[in-house]
């Protein structure tokens, strides 16, 4: 079982301050950590490897210092690590990031399963994991809280929902994003820490990934952050009644009235 874990280096939010004038994060002097949700992804990858054998590779897209996060991943037991870093990747939205990461994962080689944390604590989009699966054209399940079983061709997982969970089975290779309920991440090991100091972590840039400059970074991004705010919870609710057919008819009419379809 070859596993790729995607990780992101993020500022430790407990120590982050907000610049009141610009409403942006003040990153200076703030400690960087592995995105906490990605720690569960690493742990799950290691557990699968311990059970089934194979390798766990970690990949991260980010500035050169993201290598620290990859080294830390190695200290937990990850076998090898790859950094995708290039000035051209800067300013990427979730689409451009997914593209870049998917190219990197292809370059790493054969994989059976990709594991991502459900979201990063800085951007909180939860889009990059599913985005990678789309770009690689493989199935995915987001918000996995438990892996029930892993077969030769498929994986059966529990997807966490607000009011319970779904049991889903998808074919391998595939991608899952995991929530914190899935496991308790281990402590690093001394042998892992020793390895993390000496391991060679390749850095792949634009030229290594066979991807156009217009597909990555700010240029390859379909979205742009204009303003960050907490949306108001508004909206009205209507309950439709009647048989399924009646409800469908009513719903189509309402959607037409509202000009949303």
């Amino acid at each position: 079982m070859n596993i790729v874990v995607c990780i992101k280096q993020v500022p430790e939010t407990t120590s982050v301050k907000i610049n009141k004038d610009t409403n942006t994060l003040m990153r200076e002097g703030v400690k960087s950590i592995i995105n906490p949700f990605d720690m569960y992804a690493i742990e799950e990858g290691l557990r699968i490897k311990e059970k089934f054998g194979g390798r766990v590779s970690a990949v991260s897209m980010g500035p050169p210092q993201a290598e620290e996060a990859l080294r830390e991943a190695v200290s937990y037991g990850v076998d090898d690590a790859f950094l995708l870093s290039d000035r051209a990747f800067a300013g990427a939205d979730t689409l451009a990031t997914s593209r870049t990461l998917s190219k990197g994962i292809k370059k790493i080689g054969d994989f059976n399963l990709i594991i991502c944390g459900k979201q990063a604590i800085d951007g909180d989009t939860a889009q990059v994991g599913p985005g990678i699966a789309e770009k690689l054209d493989i199935p995915f399940v987001a918000f996995v809280r438990k892996i029930r079983e892993i077969g030769n061709r498929s994986i059966k997982v529990e997807r966490m929902m607000d009011d319970g969970y779904d049991v889903m089975e998808i074919t391998l290779p595939s991608l899952i994003t995991v929530v914190k309920e899935i496991n308790e991440p281990r402590m690093p090991s001394l042998r892992g820490k020793m390895k993390s100091k000496s391991i060679d972590i390749p850095t792949w840039g634009l030229a290594d990934l066979e991807i156009g400059e217009d597909k990555v970074g700010l240029k390859g991004s379909a979205t742009q952050v204009i303003k960050v705010f907490t949306p108001k919870r508004g909206g009205r609710r209507e309950m439709l009644e009647g048989s399924v057919e009646t409800q469908v008819g009513l719903l189509i009419n309402r959607l037409n009235d509202l000009k949303v379809v």
Binding site: R186, M187, P188, S189, L190, R191, K193, M194, K197
Partner: protein, 388 residues
């Protein structure tokens, strides 16, 4: 202070500190209250390779020495010495095998101990043999290919929880301490059972029990070294492990100092934080100075031992006696700084004070340590005279 640690030593300290902060601090009060052996933490320490620091790589260890071990003990002790004695006690049990055992013994026992899959324990003390090890009454009689052990060991750290026991027994009572021998006994051997678990003042996460031998038979191959070497084995082992008690002491001191300073910064009286009063500052200053002095001595003793020096008894006793006396004083002072709050179980310092007392007692009381130092001084100065 910068003690010029190697990169590996820094890593060990960092890792042990991380485990202490994240896994031991949050549960230490509960472990103390419930007197519960910290198996979960031992498992974490094992998975992190920290159980194998002082064993050679060929037996599954990390190839470090006394210093590496003490750095881990210090950091764990900052959180709880009840836990660190469970950790370090296994090393005490393993050292007789490591220092005097045969190649077969080492191959058979050390990898499991170094990997943290099994704990070891050391059995010397008896009801009538504490400081005076020659008073040991547990006997082992050779019957063809087996020793038959009879007697009771008392206050054995890790008793009942450990799998591998190295015990000092009398194989020839007529020869006094020269009739003592060291034997390996595995848990589960018929005739080997555990007595009551002691209720202690401190280090309550650790298990302290009797080892009861009633016609317990072990193969004669379980003898460590030769018959009659038991006392030498015990003394040499303790010379090596005493700085470990020093490491527990300095870790405990640091924990107490941290708690006292952070309380003094927050607690306000007469309109100011109490740390702004010199009366409080002076207590804290002495605590910090004594802690640092103890640390410097323990680290130096460790480095001296790891250099391969032979005459380590004096330095190792000094490291133990000085830092454990300091730990008692520093923890009492920490309670004083916290005042009424320090006396309450809601704050960690009363436990530290209860825990500290054992450091002046076990692995040779501090009076016995001073005897060792005194004896060494007599030898040293007698030698100097002869040279003249």
């Amino acid at each position: 202070m910068d003690y010029f640690l190697t990169e590996n030593q820094m890593m060990i300290k960092e890792l042990a500190r991380q485990i202490a902060d994240q896994r031991i601090m949050p549960v230490r009060a509960e472990l103390d209250e419930k007197e519960e052996f910290p198996w979960e933490i031992i498992k974490v320490l094992a998975d992190s390779d920290l159980m194998g620091l002082c064993y050679p790589e060929e037996y599954g260890g990390l190839g470090g020495g006394t210093f590496e071990n003490c750095l881990a003990v210090e950091e764990i002790s900052r959180a709880c010495i009840g836990v660190s004695v469970c950790y370090a006690g296994s090393g005490l049990g393993a050292y007789p095998i490591l220092l005097f055992g045969s190649e077969e013994h080492k191959k058979k026992y050390i990898p499991d101990i170094a990997g943290g899959r099994k704990l070891a324990a050391f059995g010397l003390t008896e009801a009538n043999a504490g400081s005076d090890a020659s008073g040991i009454q547990t006997t082992a009689v050779l019957d063809e290919n087996e020793y038959i052990i009879n007697g009771t060991k008392q206050w054995i750290t890790g008793g009942g929880e450990a799998e591998i026991y190295t015990v000092i027994v009398m194989t020839d009572k007529t020869r006094g301490s020269r009739g003592a021998s060291a034997l390996i006994v595995e848990k589960g051997t018929p005739g080997f059972t555990f007595g009551k678990k002691e209720k202690k003042m401190g280090i309550r996460a650790s298990a302290t029990t009797e080892l009861i031998f009633s016609n317990c038979r072990v193969p004669k191959e379980n003898l460590i070294g030769r018959e009659g070497m038991g006392f030498v084995v015990a003394m040499r082992v303790l010379d090596r492990t005493r700085p470990g008690i020093g490491a527990q002491a300095i870790g405990l001191c640091q924990g107490a100092l941290d708690a006292a300073v952070s309380y003094a910064r927050e607690r306000r009286q007469f309109g100011k934080p109490i740390i702004s009063f010199q009366a409080v500052q002076h207590i804290l200053a002495d605590m910090a100075t004594q802690t640092e002095a103890a640390r410097a001595l323990v680290y130096s003793a460790c480095r001296f031992i790891d250099s391969g020096a032979k005459d380590i008894s004096k330095v190792s006793a000094m490291a133990k006696v000085f830092s454990s006396d300091v730990a008692m004083k520093v923890t009492v002072d920490a309670v004083q700084v916290l005042g009424g709050y320090g006396y309450m179980r809601d704050y960690p310092v009363e436990k530290m004070m209860r825990d500290a007392k054992i450091l002046q007692i076990y692995e040779g009381t501090n009076q016995i340590q001073r005897n060792v130092i005194g004896q060494e001084l007599i030898k040293e100065y007698a030698g100097k005279k002869e040279k003249k």
